[in-house]
């Protein structure tokens, strides 16, 4: 069953067509990789889906709901959660409060005592249980990334957008991160992964969409897409293809 259906999505900044007629679909329970060289429009596409930016035209359907034109808080309440490419935690608040902030405004919101308990469970899941009372601003980069994931999960999303969530992790942390996302997939969550770490893409994604200059260059099962000539030349230049 299709959960997300993106059709002919467009967004320009002045003369630059950042996303130029992008279309793809994501099935329920699928982990899809969104790949492409720097500047190909991946993050803009994520911003259009989450409502951080308003699309010029096109359509984004989540189930039966049209997301284009909705403010991001409504899109969030419909079930889209995201992390940010440059990590954004609520620095003056504790870990636990960060996660509770994610619970208090979702559709079946929870606040107070019950939320506290649920927040600790989520922190446990991402391995931050012991830092529950630490201000988020005092944590290391890696822990902030974990916290951001916990906060996104606190929204109980139907669709999770991870924007380079695995970037900057060392090999051990990467393995932990991959396992974590795998466990999320096992629990039935649908995920779009914008990622440059190819090991992670190969390990996690059933299917990939590759973008180039705002448009879709290739789409298909991960291995197949990654060995395609035009994809390799887009990343590495023509002589390597």
């Amino acid at each position: 069953m299709t959960l997300l259906k993106v059709q002919n999505l467009r967004k320009s900044f002045g003369g630059l067509r950042a996303v130029d007629g992008l279309s793809f679909q994501v099935a329920q329970g699928e982990v899809m990789g969104l790949l492409g060289p720097n500047g190909s429009g991946k993050t803009t596409a994520m911003n259009l889906i989450s409502g951080a930016l308003r699309a010029d035209s096109g359509s984004v359907l989540l189930g039966a709901d049209q997301l284009v034109g909705l403010p991001s808080y409504k899109i969030t309440r419909l079930g889209v959660a995201r992390t940010f490419q440059l990590v954004r935690v609520l620095g003056g608040m504790t870990c636990s409060e960060n996660v509770q902030a994610g619970m208090a405004f979702r559709r079946d919101h929870s606040f107070g005592q019950a939320a506290q308990k649920e927040a600790l469970q989520l922190l446990e899941l991402v391995g931050l249980r012991h830092l529950a009372d630490t201000p988020a601003g005092d944590m290391t980069y890696i822990d902030q990334k974990r916290l951001e994931l916990a906060r996104a999960l606190a929204l109980k999303p139907r669709l999770l957008l991870l924007d380079e969530w695995l970037a900057g992790l060392n090999p051990t942390e990467l393995q932990v991160g991959i396992e974590l996302i795998r466990s999320l997939r096992a629990s039935g969550l649908t995920i779009i992964l914008v990622e440059h770490v190819m090991d992670a893409v190969r390990a996690l994604c059933d299917r990939c969409v590759v973008m180039l200059a705002g448009a879709k260059l290739a789409e298909g099962p991960t291995e197949q897409v990654l060995s395609q000539q035009d994809v390799i030349s887009a990343y590495l230049g023509v002589p390597y293809a």
């Binding site: 808080y73 969030t76 954004r88 608040m93 902030a101 208090a104 606040f111 005092d138």
Partner: protein, 317 residues
Amino acid sequence: MKPANLASAGFVLVSLTLLVVAALPFFVQSDYFIAYTINVLQYGVLATAWTLFSGPTRYISLATTAFFGIGAYTVAVLSEALPWAAVLGVAGVIGVVLALIVGLSTLRLSGVHFVIFTFGLAELIRQLVTWYEVNITRVIGRYIFLDITQRQIYWQLLVLLALALFTGWLIKRSRLGLALRVIGEDELVARHLGINTTRAKVMLFVISSTFMTLVGAVMAPRWTYIDPTIVFNPIVSFQVLIMSLLGGVGHLLGPLAGVIPLTALFEVLSARFPNHFSILLGTAFLVIVYLVPNGVVEALCKWLRPRRGEKKLEAPV
């Protein structure tokens, strides 16, 4: 002690203090004391109301005097036509409507743009009132003859202060309070957590501005004569801002900790150095922002707390 117990202990303590202050006029006969305390209470409500909105959101508003003046003018216009309670009611409604208009049109602005807009708004309203009085009523200035004693003003302000503190206490424990804290931290994240940021900000702005309008209304009978330069005095906005910052905007009682010493200071300054008041006020501003950027309450908490996880907050401006 657990934080919950601490909060309720604080609640009882504050309630008792307010009751004691309410009883003072029965025991103290000095008119100077009443007049001085009215001044403290007036700024107490204004600073507490200011902090309700500007504290968590970090949107610095200089529109305090606009709402204060509107409240006072409402009284000047309506005091002979309506009973006192109704006048206050109308003032409150006007405050709500004006705050809604201003809130909906400006709260999309951020940072310095918002500060300048609110400052401009206060001037705009003052000029509009002046224009109206000059061209339509043809008299600038109005007289207020109301049979309201200093002591009654004192108690009315005290009730407003209690209401403002209670409202702040309720908001802090509500989802709205959490929403505002998240907005203050990162508005983009707030929107991506499902928070309707515009609605939350406008709601708080309206609540805060309504208190300011009511203070203006309650204070109006104290002057028998008002004109736009008296009630739309921009110094009031700056004083409220600096009192709140000195006390600290992170805590509900923070602004009061700034109001009490600064009212005394400003009283002395304006009595002893009437010609240099603005310069000295500016100096007080600088000293406070440099020395206690997060307010005395925060500084005190930091000093009392064992130093773990040293954290530096940026100044709210």
